[in-house]
């Protein structure tokens, strides 16, 4: 398998990917321990320090209620990442399993599931997510579920395509001849072999899910003020750009952009490592 030297070799050849990976690890650590180390309480308002520009005591400045933007940006990371990760994990697990099942069985089951997924994909994703949150109720759980559902078709189609391609492989034939049942063939032979493209999709998808969460929060869905969340902070700060308080919107925006950028870069990088022919 891969030795430490192999990993070092691969990372040196893919410096950008390595940097993106390191940044994601840093972001994750910040998300986990951030709330314990921030200099100010992210919810504490202070009407004497309203809309202060960045300074030594308020690194990213303060917002219209005098709350420390640095503390809020750091604290928000945990919620945004948690929503994105749980949603992507749910849709990857469900989409992969159902897609594999559908692709392996074929026939009318496959036709029915594929058409159902086509219907799902016919809706604009963000609008579909909005509608789902409206139906499910305005809560964090709804955001997670809505994000998971709108991502489901991508995993389904990806896995289905991989499985139909590998269904006739020699090792699958051998597994059938060795008396393995449907479950073992799917979960020990086919799905593990078809997983690499799913991993790429997960990484690309995570960035997109963070963006989606922030987007829904921006229009007032899912997360409610005063909870620190990047989308809400951008929404609150958007109006202040005109009056010159740029820091209210720029820092949460930058945090959001950096996270999405890192996940996309990592996804592209992993794809290049696993399939050099598709290198862009």
């Amino acid at each position: 398998m891969l030795s430490l030297a192999d990993i070092r070799f691969i990372l040196r050849r893919n410096l950008v990917t390595a940097i993106a990976g390191v940044l994601i690890v840093v972001l994750m650590v910040v998300a986990i321990i951030g709330p314990y180390i921030v200099p100010h309480d992210p919810l504490q308002t202070n009407l004497r320090e309203v809309l202060r520009p960045p300074s030594a005591s308020y690194w990213f400045g303060t917002d219209h209620l005098g709350r420390d933007i640095f503390s809020r940006v750091i604290t928000a990371a945990r919620l945004d990442f948690a929503i994105a990760i749980i949603a992507v994990a749910l849709s990857a697990a469900a989409g992969t399993a159902v897609g594999a099942f559908s692709g392996y069985l074929g026939g009318w089951v496959d036709k029915l599931l594929s058409r159902l997924v086509d219907v799902m994909m016919a809706f604009p994703l963000f609008v579909a997510a909005m509608a789902l949150v409206a139906v499910l109720g305005n809560s964090v759980q709804s955001i997670v579920l809505a994000t998971a559902i709108i991502n489901l078709p991508f995993y389904f189609r990806l896995m289905r395509a991989e499985i139909t391609q590998r269904r006739e492989a020699g090792y699958v034939e051998a597994a059938i001849i060795n008396g393995n049942g449907l479950g073992r063939i799917l979960f020990t032979f086919l799905i593990p072999n078809a997983l690499p493209p799913v991993i790429v999709q997960i990484s690309l998808n995570l960035g997109w899910a963070i963006l989606n969460t922030a987007g829904l929060a921006f229009i007032g869905l899912g997360v409610a003020p005063p909870t620190p969340e990047w989308g809400i902070m951008i929404q609150e700060g958007a109006a202040m750009m005109i009056s010159g308080q740029w820091w209210v919107v720029v820092f949460p925006g930058a945090a959001l952009a950096l996270s999405v950028f890192c996940f996309s870069l990592l996804g592209d990088g992993i794809r290049d490592i696993m399939d050099p022919r598709r290198r862009s």
Binding site: M1, A169, G170, Y171, E173, A174, A175, I176, I177, N178, G179, N180, G181, T188, F189, P192, N193
Partner: protein, 295 residues
Amino acid sequence: MTRTHENRLLEIEDLQLGFDGAQGLLPALRGVSVHLDRGELVALVGQSGSGKSVTGLTVLRLLGANARIAKGAIRFDGQDLLSFSERQMRGIRGGRIAMVFQNAKASLNPIRRVGDTLADIVLAHDTTGLSRKQALQKVVGLMAQIGIALPEERARAYPSELSGGMCQRIGIAAALASDPELIIADEPTSALDVTTQQLVMDTLTEAARARGVAVIFITHDLALASEYCDRAVVMNAGRIVEEGPADRVFTDPQHPYTRALLDALPYGKTDASELRPMTWTDPEDSAPGAEGPRS
């Protein structure tokens, strides 16, 4: 027919089978009868499309959904396999009847160490409650028994790290891992060079003879068959044209098809002009519909 033969392991009787296609039913087997005793090595010889692989797959009931069995019976150890449920068949496949494939490398799961793949087979058919570690030990022992050098190291390798001949010998170990009574070897050496072919055939036949495992050896190479097998069954266009002791069939063929098959082989010839391409066609069979889905 109720003739009982206590040593009889497999009996295929007047098997007629076709595949449903756009042009209606394509006949693949037109009344094939083959029998096999315990520990016997029988070669099923014929060119592509003669029905030899279909015969092998039918024993395991692994034909596609469009296969139609019109007539016949397959008795394995006295039980009619055609009447078995899919669940019962799963117990037979890879357990009492194992298979060796033509493309051994492709038949091994590429992301699992070969030792783990083999241990899975041991555990799947084990009734004595072996631990995974014991199963791995058994696998390594088995690999050593069939003459694989450095078995511990090989067991830790991935299929992509092994040569084709090594993969085929691992494939033989995989077939032996479940202690089968019958091994169906479908062109096990056709993808290998001549020296490796020898090694793989030696491995397979020695292991089978030492354990009393019967082997159906599916091949187009009559010379190879005669060298290693007890009996040869020559097939053409879904029928058996000749059957007898393997060396007799090879040295003194009775049927014109067998003779034509031998004329097309380079063995014992001193000049290329002595080779004749296969042109013989069954006068009874003018319809070109006997092609099976595979060789």
